[in-house]
């Protein structure tokens, strides 16, 4: 057990943590904590249960905590602590009231000038001595490391996950428990903690199938940590997307919604000890064992999607299949080569959809007002999951769209509107660029719907045809004028005229 001085934490600030902290969508909050930040000890964790789910290629943690306001004043901000250095990897943090899941208004944001705190703001301040049950979920990117770091092509892959048996907290905790959910029972190593620490006098971890439990533990001071780690089999790729760019293009004339995704993937899994052997790979293809290589990506698209494509920097990837029927539309994309640990693969996929399924005209609005509902994130759906370091979604609205508003549940780090000039545009199309960091594929589709409302004046629709007509007329006029310019030197002879005509 060690106590970490908070002053030290402030110094080790991460660049990405700073990026996280750029959240400014909550305008009411403009008082920022001081740079070497220590959360005020206003709360006490009465009971804390922490679930770490390791079934996917990234840990998902759920923290159910009963908190009690021990300060004299009502409090509306709860500070959530993380182990140092991990704040930049935390993504998709959501908080809600466990007893009233419908209650909205909980916001979570990284605390500026600190490297280990998130601030969770309640919809209403919690009066003194009142209790509240918070359910906080988040996922940590790049938290799992393969151990051994190098394996043979057909070997099993083991992952190592280091955590603290005591949940990191800015407050004193009366009772807590950490549960691990592992994908298999093949767990060669798990830190054993002596029974003396356990409140019930049991030796940790207590195993039950694939779930390992540490705790319960008794009273712990704020900031208490108990390092522990687990190593388990996970012979699946650790697909890590360095960047995902999504373009969603709305065409009113064409009644089409075109989506394009550009992926830059890396497999964070164990690298190959000896170089890739095709013979081994082909031999193993017969019985298809689990592999740490990424062999296929499946994109379940919205029903009715059409014209799907899968290309990379050097052209079409011929190993893809697109099946579309009345019930489903699936793009099965195989990378050009199996992506083993440490290898990368970048590609683009795209498809078209009927705009009618996504766009609705608002009745009674001022002028022509529209609502567009599209998923913020789609991407492949893999059983083992995918983590995205950075997702940039760009919604390209028709030319002349004004009064753009958006709404989404996913935490964003930036949102800008701009112009994008393409396909004979005169002014450029209104685009909305939204950026989120540390997203996992849990947020696919419905969970992270992006609702955009905008106005499109009738005149804007006819801008392009008119501009094209004007351009063509100008071209004719210019060519007529040029064609009538006489460039001959001296007097024209009959022969010359004939010659020019024939040309």
């Amino acid at each position: 057990m060690r106590l970490l001085p908070c002053a030290l934490l402030g110094l080790t600030s991460l660049a990405s943590a700073a990026a996280d902290a750029n959240l400014t969508h909550d305008a009411s909050r403009n008082t920022l904590p001081p740079s070497t930040f220590t959360p005020p000890p206003h709360f006490r964790n009465v009971n804390l249960v922490r679930n770490i789910n390791l079934e996917k290629s990234y840990p998902r943690e759920t923290l159910n905590v009963v908190i009690e306001n021990i300060a004299a004043q009502p409090q509306d901000a709860y500070y959530l602590a993380f182990e140092p250095g991990t704040l930049g990897q935390i993504g998709g943090l959501e908080a809600k009231d466990k007893k009233e899941p419908e209650r909205t208004g909980f916001t979570a944001e990284a605390v500026e000038d600190s490297s280990s705190y998130y601030r969770i703001t309640f919809p209403a301040p919690l009066p003194p001595n009142e209790q509240l049950t918070l359910s906080i979920t988040y996922s940590t990117l790049a938290a799992l490391t393969p151990l051994p770091a190098q394996i043979n092509q057909n070997d099993k892959q083991y992952l190592h996950h280091a955590f603290s048996a005591y949940a990191p907290s800015a407050y004193a905790t009366a009772k807590q428990k950490t549960k691990l959910k592992l994908p298999t029972t093949d767990v060669p190593d798990a830190t054993t903690l002596p029974a003396s620490l356990n409140a019930e006098g049991k030796e940790d971890p207590q195993k039950q199938g694939t779930s390992y439990t540490y705790g319960p533990y008794g009273e712990q001071a704020a900031g208490a940590l108990q390092p522990a780690s687990v190593r388990y089999e996970f012979t699946k790729p650790l697909t890590h997307s360095r960047l995902l760019e999504r373009d969603i293009e709305v065409s009113h004339w064409g009644g089409n919604l075109a989506t394009e995704e550009r992926h830059w993937l890396t497999n964070r899994g164990a690298t190959l000890k000896t170089p890739f052997s095709r013979v081994t790979y082909q031999q193993s293809a017969y019985y298809n064992p689990p592999s740490s290589a990424l062999k296929e990506l499946r994109f379940p698209l919205a029903v009715g999607s059409a014209d799907a494509y899968f290309i990379d920097d050097i052209g079409n990837v011929s190993t893809s299949r697109f099946r579309s029927n009345l019930r489903e539309a699936n793009l099965e994309a195989k990378p050009r080569y199996p992506v083993f640990g440490g290898w990368s693969y970048s590609f683009k996929v795209g498809w078209n959809g009927d705009l009618g399924n996504y766009l609705r005209r608002v009745k009674g609005g001022a002028g022509e007002s529209y609502v567009l509902k599209v998923p913020f994130l789609e991407g492949p759906k893999q059983a083992e999951g995918i983590e995205y370091e950075r997702v940039v979604t760009r919604v390209v609205l028709p030319e002349g769209a004004t009064n753009v508003h958006y709404e989404t549940t996913i935490p964003l780090v930036s949102a800008t509107t701009g112009l994008h000039r393409t396909f004979l545009d005169t002014r450029g199309r209104t685009t909305l660029t939204l950026t989120a960091v540390n997203v996992v594929d849990d947020w696919r589709e419905e969970r992270a719907a992006l609702v955009v409302t905008y106005n499109l004046p009738v005149g804007a629709r006819f801008r392009k045809p008119l501009a094209l007509c004007a351009g063509a007329l100008a071209l004719f006029a210019v060519s007529w004028v040029v064609g009538n310019v006489d460039v001959r030197i001296g007097r024209a002879s009959k022969g010359l005229v004939g010659g020019r005509k024939a040309a």
């Binding site: 170089p275 013979v279 990837v317 080569y337 004979l424 030197i489 022969g495 004939g498």
Partner: protein, 771 residues
């Protein structure tokens, strides 16, 4: 065309001024359709595969275009490429013909300006088809200058549009210099003919301008550089010197030479290399002739002849001596090797194996002419013969062009390309003659119809008058104007019988249809394969794409260090540069024979010899192409002998071609392969681990059709890094030096647990350290 019924309300559109406009519009529509057909017939590969750059050279052009688009024109002009020819690098900006890249770069920026952000790859892929549409148009113009029949131009345009001889180099994705060069060639010729006919500086200057463009686009510009002077020379020799010729030739030569010298790669060649001396000589000659003409007007005949004789001998002797002296002293470069191989087809094989190793530099086989030109090849002589019937200045050009191009096309497969335009023009002239004669519905007496239609067709009237009219004109003139010469008066002859008319017309139609069928078939089957992507058929008839090249290149691109040097045979250099984006040792530019020979030596030597070479050249990966599993015959083992030959050219003591053949002179890869063969790095890398795919002793090479030795080769200095799905591309990583200072063979043996051989390794007596 023969609409006689004046009561017909539609006749309004076919008579008088309106008729001319109607015909003009019709012609325009036909030309647009031809251009569309030309473009469409080149899109097989895009439809069947995808929009992809084909083969080898286009990949370099594509890469250079991307560089141009990204870094701008000046950076492109000064481009020193350190990612090719490692470690020498290549002054790319100064050693390429920039016309192609600049053309597509301009199109790209123009479209950008119009807010049409089209991917540069698509522009490059579709550039050749687009320009072939323009070529069809240029051929129309060119032929219209040659023949007064209005149908000749259109026929030539459609022939040019779909002739396989031209399609072979201009399908979508074939992004090579020839893509735009043929258009420029034909258009320059058209402008030249126009200039000679009209004698105007403007046309001469336009010729020079397009000649300059041509120089910037293709090394084949030398063809124009020699053909135009030859035309002028022949005209002078025929006693057809005229001020028109003087004006057009001098304008073209002066401006065109200046224009061509703006290209860094050409530089001072136009005044220093033998290839360009003919143009200079004719330029001098035409000055002399002009001067003589001038003097002739001033002097009496007797004096003039003496003066002429003396001066001609003096000047000619002086010029020739000067040329010889300059060539000997080295100021004028002698003929280049490629040029020699045009005269002596065996030359390259002996002196420059690297030129001979390229399949498109081989002499043409006879069937290739029929394959590429089909019926045009037998119409071609007829067309040339028709040029003799009315031998005006422009017809002389066709004759010369036909003779020269036929010869060159016979010498080198690739030069079929320069033959195709003249074949199309000549064949169209012949065919239009036939059609004009046989496709007239009315009988020949009905002169009024023919005359009106032929007049109304507005055949371009030429500046040098209509002294020599063609056959139809002859008849009409004879029938019409009684005051012409008696020799041109001939009885009205023509085809009266509808049977013969319909027979001939039917036969010609059948031939034309067959021609279209043949062209489509050839294009579809022979010229539309990207060669980067291979297609095969699955048992159920569906198409299966073998994409090994891109698989391996993309693997290199994504999973190796950006500066990792890849050693491969030069054929793949441009593709590696374009698709894998990694530095290469040698590529298709082949400017440094020694460097290529070095790679050849590394491939054909034992590992102990190859490894130091690879270390010296900082090679990280070695890439070989192996078709044994799939039966893909264009692999490195089949190209291996060229590597050996080229290496032997530089190191005759170390590499000997003979060592790779068995005692019976066979080139084998099986048990009977020579030890040199079996120990060569290429052989080992090709077959390494290959027999693991087969039951013991059953490994078969499906290209060479031979059973491989039971024990596969062992590799110690390189290790397999990646092999593509069908084993076509195999990539090996060059091992670093051993940590313990052993050589790799020893290290490998130790790993395997073999006992180290002690025999012969005698150490000297132990010496105590004395200091």
């Amino acid at each position: 065309m023969a609409l006689t019924d004046s009561d017909n309300p539609a006749s309004f559109f076919f008579k008088g001024e309106t008729g001319r406009n109607t015909r003009g519009l019709l012609r325009l529509i036909i030309l647009c359709t031809i251009a569309a057909a030309a473009v469409a017939s080149r899109l097989f590969s895009v439809i069947r595969f995808e929009s992809i750059i084909h083969e080898f050279d286009p990949w370099f052009n594509f890469r250079a275009t991307k560089y141009l688009v990204q870094h701008g024109f000046y950076a492109f002009w000064d481009w020193f490429d350190d990612r090719t020819w490692h470690p020498l690098g290549r002054v790319t900006g100064g050693t390429l013909y920039p016309g192609l890249m600049v053309t597509s770069g301009s199109i790209y920026h123009l479209l950008r300006f119009l807010a049409m952000p089209i991917d540069i790859r698509n522009i490059c892929v579709l550039l050749a088809p687009a320009f072939s549409g323009l070529t069809a148009f240029a051929t129309y113009l060119f032929t219209s200058e040659m023949s007064e029949s209005p149908s000749a131009g259109l026929l030539a345009a459609v022939f040019m549009g779909i002739a396989p001889g031209y399609i072979s180099r201009s399908v979508a994705g074939s992004y090579d210099n020839e893509a735009i060069a043929i258009f420029l060639l034909v258009y320059t010729f058209y402008l030249w003919i126009k200039a000679v006919k009209v004698g105007s500086i403007m046309w001469g200057a336009l010729t020079a301008l397009f000649y300059g463009y041509m120089v910037s686009a293709w090394g084949g510009y030398v063809f124009i550089t020699n053909l135009l002077p030859l035309h002028a020379f022949v005209l002078i020799c025929m006693g057809r010197y005229s001020p028109r010729l003087y004006v057009s030739y001098t304008t073209w030569y002066a401006l065109g030479t200046l224009a061509s010298m703006q290209i860094p790669f050409v530089g001072f060649l136009p005044i220093r290399s033998s290839d360009h001396m003919a143009a200079l000589g004719v330029f001098g000659l035409i000055q002399l002739v002009a001067f003589t003409e001038f003097v002739r007007y001033q002097l009496p005949t007797k004096q003039f002849q003496t003066l002429l004789r003396a001066s001609v001998f003096l000047v000619f002797g002086g010029a020739f001596a000067g040329l010889v002296l300059l060539t000997l002293s080295g100021t004028i470069a002698p003929w280049s090797g490629r040029f020699y191989s045009l005269w002596d087809t065996g030359y390259a094989k002996i002196h420059i194996p690297i030129i001979a190793s390229v399949s498109e530099h081989q002499p043409t086989a006879w069937p290739a002419f029929f394959f590429d030109l089909n019926m045009l090849i037998w119409l071609f002589p007829a067309g040339v013969y028709m040029c003799f019937r009315s031998l005006k200045d422009e017809q002389v050009f066709i004759v010369i062009y036909a003779v020269l191009a036929s010869y060159f096309a016979g010498v080198m497969v690739r030069l079929m390309l320069t033959l195709t335009p003249v074949v199309c023009v000549a064949a169209a002239m012949a065919l239009s003659q036939i059609l004009d004669t046989f496709l007239v519905a009315s009988s020949p007496e009905d002169n009024s119809t023919d005359t009106s239609s032929s007049k109304a067709n507005g055949a371009p009237s030429t500046a040098n008058g209509s002294a020599n009219a063609n056959a139809i004109k002859d008849k009409l003139a004879a029938a019409f104007s009684p005051d012409t010469l008696r020799s041109t008066k001939s009885p009205v002859v023509g085809i009266y019988s509808y049977l013969s008319k319909s027979l001939i017309a039917g036969a010609i139609t059948a031939y034309l249809l067959l021609f279209v069928l043949h062209c489509t078939w050839v294009t579809s089957n022979a010229y539309s394969s990207p060669s980067v992507v291979l297609a095969s058929k699955l048992p159920d008839g569906s198409q299966h794409i073998i994409d090994d090249y891109r698989e391996a290149y993309y693997w290199l691109r994504q999973n190796t260090a950006p500066t990792a040097k890849v050693m491969a045979w030069w054929d793949y250099g441009y593709q590696i540069g374009g698709m894998a984006d990694r530095p290469t040792l040698v590529d298709n530019n082949t400017w440094n024979n020694t460097h290529i020979a070095t790679v050849g030596k590394a491939m054909s030597s034992r590992e102990e010899v190859s490894y130091p070479i690879m270390r010296q050249h900082e090679v990280d990966y070695v890439l070989v192409v192996f078709g044994g599993l799939l039966g893909y015959s264009g692999d490195d083992i089949n190209k291996f002998l060229w590597m050996v030959r080229i290496a032997e050219g530089i190191w005759p003591d170390e590499i000997k071609e003979r060592d790779f053949f068995t005692s019976r002179g066979e080139y084998r890869v099986d048990d009977e392969a020579t030890p040199t063969m079996r120990n060569s790095l290429m052989y080992k890398m090709s077959y390494y681990n290959y027999n693991a795919l087969f039951p013991a002793g059953q490994a078969t090479d499906r290209v060479r059709g031979s059973k491989l030795p039971a024990a596969g080769p062992e590799l110690s200095t390189v290790e397999e890094a990646f092999t593509s799905e069908n084993w076509i591309i195999r990539i090996y990583k060059v091992k670093d030096l051993d940590n313990l200072g052993r050589n790799h063979q020893e290290a490998g043996a130790f790993e395997k647990g073999n006992k180290r051989k002690k025999a012969g390794k005698r150490r000297g007596p132990r010496v105590l350290r004395v200091e």
